[in-house]
Symmetry: C2
Subunit: 343 residues, 2 copies
């Protein structure tokens, strides 16, 4: 009945890396800094194959909660949603087939320049977005440290400094300090990049955010229906589009875990940026599975297009309860495989 | 009931190019030599999206018969068979997400060396084959000129010189002369590369054949069930595996159009190489569509894993008649799009 009831042609997930993720305590997208380098590559493999390659472990938070990639995979299996993976600066090889924008991993935003070639990635991604032979896409991300770079971009653009986290106790102080240090190192007063989204990305962003924004820009330009699928990172992508002059309606689909997170300030961000907000409650607290119940306590919360995928599933057969069951069985099989063969 | 009744995890299609395809009259995989450069990239897009990107035309033979990619796409849509595209030396960019072995287009086999880095591509593909988190694959190709390079490889290995064609009147004389010239230019007497498949590829092969053989080798080594899906090119891949010491049972699935082609000598090749042969009749002569009926008259015949995909469909719901109907509707929509917007 609504436009959300029509299944998107493709769930596009952009994976990459920023050295910002190596800052101690900043991200839960992987149990250790070393494992966080592998998380995006493993996430894309889980999306495409249902499991990572044999020499890789399943990304989990430091407390053992599995990556949101498992949830999006569950939606793909249950609803037939097709995934398209994009490599925007992965730190390691992936066995998932990808479209490649030729990006390098992003630098720590505390350096002067975070993404020297941000404009190039944006333009390449826009060319992809203009050429994709699809009518509608969900657009999500996988990049550890991405909520901090998103905060940096929002600050550079002069937007609300909303910040979510894959940790239940959001290390907002570390993130805010990281952004302040980065702005100072870049000689960029807050708001100084307003109206110049590529400059905000170059000094404070990451290659995934540049690619997501460019992809959305190109796709929107040719009439593709775009749903931004995620939390503050996708809101930052929306901000980049607004500062690039995009006036068209934009839709952001996220989980209730992010929407209920005060520091993420999603309703305010959505109002600031004129986004229609679609919120879906995964209901993992009712599943009787500790690792997944932790989502409801603020672990992971969102990522890998999870919120958008769940919105698709809610309006499709066989609905959210089937997604919960499939998420649980996928999680169990992945966890069992890890225990049988600790890589 | 049989092992063919189990749907493969993935239909792997390896795309690439050889300058051998520029020889006049050698290939029907594209209406002109210029369009043949685009055929593999467009084939992969059709497999993944159902249509090529807006700036590209649908590959057709010089007489207007559509690419076999449409048939494999029809199987993917009707049976849920997942496609995995591999870039092994594409001559143009593709919007299909790919695994990339980093290959350059192959040289004309009439030059001394056809694929200088054949061994590197083989090893990279083998690493992919060993790591793919799947249990079974169909393995096919898209490379214009590929039946000629396959003939070259069979000659270099000292195997039966079988050769099929995407043309109804197979230009066997041109192909045989091309191979003789190539063997002479390489200083390679026929059969001189027996037991050394990488040498055969280096002097007489193409990057797709090196990648297909390496992928199969790696996948077989880790217990993945591999079905070679195609005609003489996949038989050449089987020959490469046999000359690399693979003694395990191998299965080759192809169309009745190739199996009925005397110059392709599929039954003899299968006997020589100890392959179990699976033959499927697409039945396009009964469809009342001129472009598709031409398949039964020897145009196109096979390619892009078509024969293997049809074997999957024959044993699955909703069966081959649904594939024929879907192939027809896809062909019509692609042809209409071309007529509406001749790119």
């Amino acid at each position: 009945m609504t436009d959300r009831a029509r299944q998107p042609d493709r769930c596009v997930v952009v994976g990459g890396s920023t050295r910002t993720a190596a800052i101690d305590g900043i991200s839960a997208a992987g149990a250790t800094a070393t494992q966080r380098r592998e998380t995006p590559a493993a996430d894309l493999e889980i999306l495409v194959f249902g499991r990572p390659t044999p020499d890789r472990t399943v990304p989990v938070s430091p407390t053992g909660t599995p990556t949101p990639a498992v949830v999006t995979r569950a939606v793909a299996v249950e609803t037939g949603l097709s995934v398209l993976a994009v490599d925007a600066g992965l730190a390691t090889d992936t066995l998932a087939p990808t479209l490649d924008v030729g990006a390098e991993p992003g630098a720590d935003i505390r350096a002067e320049t975070a993404v020297p070639d941000a404009e190039t990635y944006w333009e390449r991604a826009a060319a992809i977005g203009r050429s994709l032979p699809v009518e509608s896409i969900l657009l999500g991300e996988t990049i550890p440290g991405g909520t901090t770079t998103a905060l940096g971009v929002l600050a550079a653009l002069g937007e609300r400094r909303a910040v979510s986290s894959s940790l239940p106790d959001n290390p907002t102080t570390i993130k805010a300090e990281t952004v302040e240090t980065g702005l100072a190192a870049s000689g960029l007063p807050p708001g100084d990049a307003a109206g110049d989204p590529r400059r905000a990305l170059r000094y404070m962003g990451d290659p995934v955010l540049a690619t997501v924004a460019g992809l959305a820009r190109g796709a929107l330009a040719t009439g593709v229906d775009v749903t931004l699928a995620g939390g503050t990172q996708l809101a930052a992508a929306a901000a980049l589009l607004r500062h690039d002059g995009v006036a068209a309606p934009l839709r952001l689909a996220t989980t209730s875990y992010v929407a209920d997170d005060e520091t993420a300030a999603m309703a305010d961000l959505a109002a600031d940026l004129d986004l229609s907000l679609v919120v879906t409650d995964p209901g993992f607290d009712r599943l009787g599975h500790d690792g997944l119940a932790a989502y409801a306590e603020g672990v992971a919360k969102e990522g890998v297009a999870m919120g958008g995928a769940l919105a698709v599933a809610r309006d499709a057969e066989p609905g959210l309860s089937a997604i919960r069951a499939r998420t649980r069985s996928l999680t169990t099989s992945l966890t069992d495989a890890m225990e049988a063969d600790p890589a």
